[in-house]
Symmetry: C2
Subunit: 182 residues, 2 copies
């Protein structure tokens, strides 16, 4: 069956995933952000089959994250360089990096983010650019924007949507009378 498309949902996360949500895509972007540009560099770094790599690179080019450009006329040779859109993906990579290190590195960290000058390890947090407050917990929530459709507004209005971390989900039915037992 054809994979269901996220592209027509209004959610920006869904729209983004439509472009980078396939297997390999994010790892390719990781390598591109680390400076790789050539087909065989990606191939070696990832251990990916060439047909898959070709397909993913074409997809990322089509989505506007990479630009395919010829760096040699004869023989024809191409490289893949990040566009602004691709470079803007960096915060996602950094956030993934931090999360992965925190939760899936039981033997200790293998790849660190460090300050380029001092060499000291960095500890990435997301903050609001203006208030400088960390974007966590209950301080921030999602709200319908100017382009939100009616359906989107209803959805945002419904549940306890406050980027609710662990809302108390006590259900009446569970606690209620359990008469006909035995």
């Amino acid at each position: 069956m054809q994979r269901k498309s996220f592209g027509k949902m209004q959610c920006p996360i869904a729209r983004g995933l439509e472009r980078v949500g396939e297997w390999w895509s994010i790892l390719i972007l990781r390598d591109a952000l680390h400076g790789l540009t050539r087909f065989d560099q990606f191939e070696q770094s990832l251990g990916i089959a060439p047909n898959m790599l070709a397909r993913r690179l074409a997809g990322l080019v089509k989505a506007g994250l990479l630009e395919r450009r010829r760096y040699s006329e004869r023989p024809p040779r191409y490289e893949y360089v990040l566009t602004e859109r691709g470079r803007d993906f960096q915060p996602v990579i950094v956030a993934m990096h931090a999360w992965g290190n925190r939760h899936f590195a039981p033997e200790g960290q293998s790849v660190l983010l460090v300050n380029a000058r001092t060499g000291e390890p960095a500890d990435p947090v997301i903050v609001d650019r203006n208030s400088k407050h960390p974007l966590a917990d209950t301080e921030f929530r999602v709200a319908p924007g100017p382009a939100a459709a009616e359906r989107t507004r209803r959805k945002l209005a419904s549940s306890a949507w406050g980027i609710a971390l662990h809302p108390p989900t006590i259900d009446k039915r569970g606690a209620r009378k359990r008469r006909n037992r035995a």
Copy 2:
């Protein structure tokens, strides 16, 4: 063919993707972070087929991002609540949100992140917790950590790895003599 596993790579991003990199998983986490907990809530919100949802929820439980717990004995009913590991995924969601809004909302933003008190729109940036400097450009780079294997060290040592944004990829071959033309 069995999908190639990222779980044994040392990269924290790859390890994370092993857990959340499949179609739907990140959208499920988005909804969970917004307070959804029940099977049918996810089903409606996402428009996902129930078999897919069941598989993904089971996967996220197994990966330790969600906890499946009974909230009603008779009839047996279950809800899915985020674990700490799942809640820690929030920065990735927020970063994706910002990126998606910036690049894939040509009609204007539909879902905004706002300050819960003031209602003002937030502008998420990743900074280093200590230095407060934005983790972008050339200020930060990746480095091998204490648990890095030899292979990982070599890989990190090779390319221009500085989270290089747009390194000048001038190739000698392209510029070099093109003798036997015509």
